[in-house]
Subunit: 105 residues, 2 copies
DNA sequence: GCATTCCTATAGAGCCTCTATAGGAGTATG
DNA sequence: CATACTCCTATAGAGGCTCTATAGGAATGC
C-alpha cells in the first residue's frame, strides 16, 4: 500500500462496513475491490486498526461463520461509528479539494 | 492541521517550491494560502520535513535575506526534487480517485 | 495424512507529525 | 536606549499509524 496517505485506513474500513457486517478479511477484500486494487490492506495493518476502532466504540464485533464455514469475527458499525464515517467523509472531501486546488495553483 | 492525512506534507512543500526558492516560513504561508487555510503547517512540522527532504536530495538550501532584511534559509527544488514532485502528484491523483470511487460505491 | 487456504492475531520497527520550547536578530515605540 | 514584539530557524520528546515478519488454529481438497 502506498505510504503517501496514512490515517485514511479508518475511513476505508468504516466505509466498507456501511452496507453491513463483515469479517476482517472480507473488509480487506472489499477495500481492495472498491478502490480498484489501489489499497491492499494486509492483516498486520488491518487488525490493529479494527481493534483500535472497536476500542474507540466505532465498531462492535461478534463471532460467527464465514461463507466457507470458517469461524470468523464479524464487525459492524455502531451509531458512533456511523457518525464517525460521516464526519471523516466530509473531512476527506474538504482536504481533497484543498490539495487539488493547491496542485493546480 | 487535520491528522487524517499524513505524508502529504512533502507533496505540499514540493509544490510550494515549484515556482521558485522560498524560506521556511514563506513555504508555510504559501501552503496555508493555496489550500485556503486548510493546512496550517507549524514550524515543528515544517523544519523536520525540510531537513529530511534536503537529506533526501530533493531540496537544496542557501542563506539569504528575506523581504524584511531578516536572515533566512532559502530552499529550492533540485532536479530529483522536481521528479519527486511529479511522481507524488501523479500518485496523489491516483489515490484521490480511488478513495472518491470507494466513498460513493 | 498432508499441503493448502482461510482467518485472526501479535511483536517490533520505522516513520511522520504534533506540542512545547528555545533563542538570535531586526524593528518599532516611547 | 530599553523594552516589547515580530520574524525566522531549530530541537526534544511524545504519540500514533502502518509496515514487515511471524504464528497458529481450523476447515478443505487430494
Amino acid at each position: 500500500m502506498p505510504n503517501l496517505l496514512q490515517g485514511t485506513l479508518d475511513l476505508l474500513i468504516l466505509n466498507a462496513l456501511a452496507p453491513g457486517a463483515m469479517h476482517g478479511l472480507g473488509i480487506s477484500r472489499r477495500i481492495e475491490q472498491v478502490t480498484q486494487g489501489t489499497f491492499l490492506v494486509k492483516p498486520g495493518s488491518l487488525f490493529p486498526a479494527l481493534h483500535r476502532m472497536e476500542e474507540a466504540g466505532w465498531l462492535a464485533s461478534s463471532w460467527g461463520e464465514s461463507d466457507n464455514n470458517r469461524k470468523a469475527k464479524f464487525y459492524r458499525l455502531t451509531p458512533p461509528g456511523r457518525r464517525q464515517l460521516k464526519s471523516e467523509t466530509t473531512e476527506w472531501r474538504r482536504i481533497s479539494i484543498a490539495i487539488a486546488a493547491a496542485l493546480q495553483a
